[in-house]
Amino acid sequence: MDATTKILGKTLVASPERRQEADADLDIVRNVQAGDVAAFDRLILKYRERVYSIVYHMTSNREDAADLTQDAFIRAFQSIHRYSGQSSFFTWLYRIAVNATLSHLRKNKLRSFFSLDRIDTDEPVSREIVAALTDKSGADRDTFVHELQEKLNDAMHKLSIKHRTVVSLFEIDGLSHEEIAEVMNCSVGTVRSRLHYAKQLLQAELQPYMRR
């Protein structure tokens, strides 16, 4: 059993793509640990959008998300020598970012300043959803999308930090229950429970925007 199989056995995610990804990450990490500092840039380029996405959906603030993502990469770089390969680099990096974000949100609980990124309506999936929700076009459509975005953001922020994190990791970033459990250092059952509760709340909040 090679190192990658061990890692993925621990993370309970053993899809061929994940395995290849973890294998490649481990090679890069070994190079960084051996002194090839420039190799870490490849990891940054590979994961920066995903890490930024999870942090952004947790904070709903673009500037904070950028800062926290940078800090997460810096911390990962500083403690790369402590990475022993017990979990995949991706999970390890996510854990660093999520813990930093949770700490930031706890510190700034009273401060709620949102700065949202624009929804990319050129993407086929989002265009289809927007078209299903409204028959407006042009400026009216943009206004409707902006209003919907704010409503989604409000609904997300009515959840607790932990529930919001679970929803972000599962629904938006596409992590499995097991990966979320590993990142959040809790059981899979807890993840499912939190996800179920969060979805119920969101459904109640966003009812006007849904149709059967």
Binding site: Y56, F73, F77, D120, A132, D135, D173
Partner: protein, 283 residues
């Protein structure tokens, strides 16, 4: 909302819409730059907090040496100037200062200025400072240079009226405050109001700068014993001398009692070859 559309919209669809929130392309350029800057700053070794504190305090104490040197210079300048002004005042007033081998501090009652001068002639060297005319007008002589133990003696005399002449003592001083007292007395005697004020102010300044010496300056006449005390001391001296005589007689009687008469003593001295200045031993 387009509720007539056949496409159902679920919560997952709405959350997928949220997934489509993306920063502009320019955002990643800035992100890259900031990350590089943070990486570089993270590579720098962190200075410990105590070093930062000491550096901050070092900024506060940036000028200790120049300040200290300036303070020392200012103190030196002020001290020299003050000393010169006091010395100048004393010279102008013709204060007589002399050294004596008598008691270091005190007043010898019953001795006039002339008498005091005669007495000092045997033990002190007389040095006249300034012209003789000024000495005559001030009626004060300055005497310095002691013999073995040089306390300074201030002799006041000359004019028959005034406090100084009434005191008519040779006052033995050994401290700056006492010199100041003498200067004040001579100023009062000369009826020089301006000089008196100046002397009083200088004496006050001096006293304020040397608070431990202020007490004798306040009441100089109180230090002089009254004539009755002088008589008492003379009587006591006589009593002491009579006591000494009786003690000698008592010693002689004791020697006789022990059988050591003078003849025997002379024989013993001759046997040892002892004289006034040497002793010989013969074996």
């Amino acid at each position: 909302m387009n509720h007539d559309s056949k496409h159902p919209v679920t919560l997952d669809d709405l959350l997928r819409l949220k997934r489509a929130e993306r920063p502009p392309a320019a955002f990643w350029d800035q992100f890259e730059r900031e990350l590089r800057a943070k990486q570089l700053s993270a590579l720098l070794p962190k200075t410990p907090w105590w070093r930062r504190v000491s550096r901050g305090l070092g900024g506060l104490f940036r000028y200790p040496i120049p300040l200290g040197a300036t303070a020392v210079l200012a103190l030196t300048f002020l001290s020299v100037r003050e000393y010169q002004s006091i010395a100048g005042d004393h010279e102008a007033q013709g204060v007589a200062l002399a050294s004596a081998a008598e008691a270091p501090f005190g007043i010898s009652p019953g001795i006039s200025a002339e008498g005091g001068r005669d007495m000092l002639d045997s033990q002190a060297t007389l040095i006249s400072v300034g012209a003789p005319d000024s000495e005559e007008s001030a009626g004060v002589t300055r005497l310095t240079e002691g013999t073995v133990n040089p306390p300074v003696v201030l002799a006041l005399g000359g004019a028959s009226d005034g406090i100084a002449s009434r005191v008519s003592h040779s006052v033995v001083f050994d401290s700056p405050s006492n010199r100041s007292i003498a200067a004040n007395l001579s100023a009062i005697e000369g009826d020089d109001m301006m000089g008196t004020r100046r002397l009083m102010s200088s004496a006050h300044e001096f006293g304020s700068k040397m608070p431990h010496l202020r007490a004798p300056v306040v009441e100089p006449l109180a230090q002089m014993p009254s004539p009755s005390e002088a008589r008492v001391s003379r009587l006591l001296t006589m009593v002491a001398s009579s006591n000494r005589l009786s003690e000698l007689q008592r010693d002689q009687g004791r020697r006789l009692d022990r059988g050591l008469d003078e003849r025997l003593t002379d024989e013993q001295v001759r046997r040892f070859g002892a004289r006034g200045d040497r002793v010989k031993f013969k074996f």
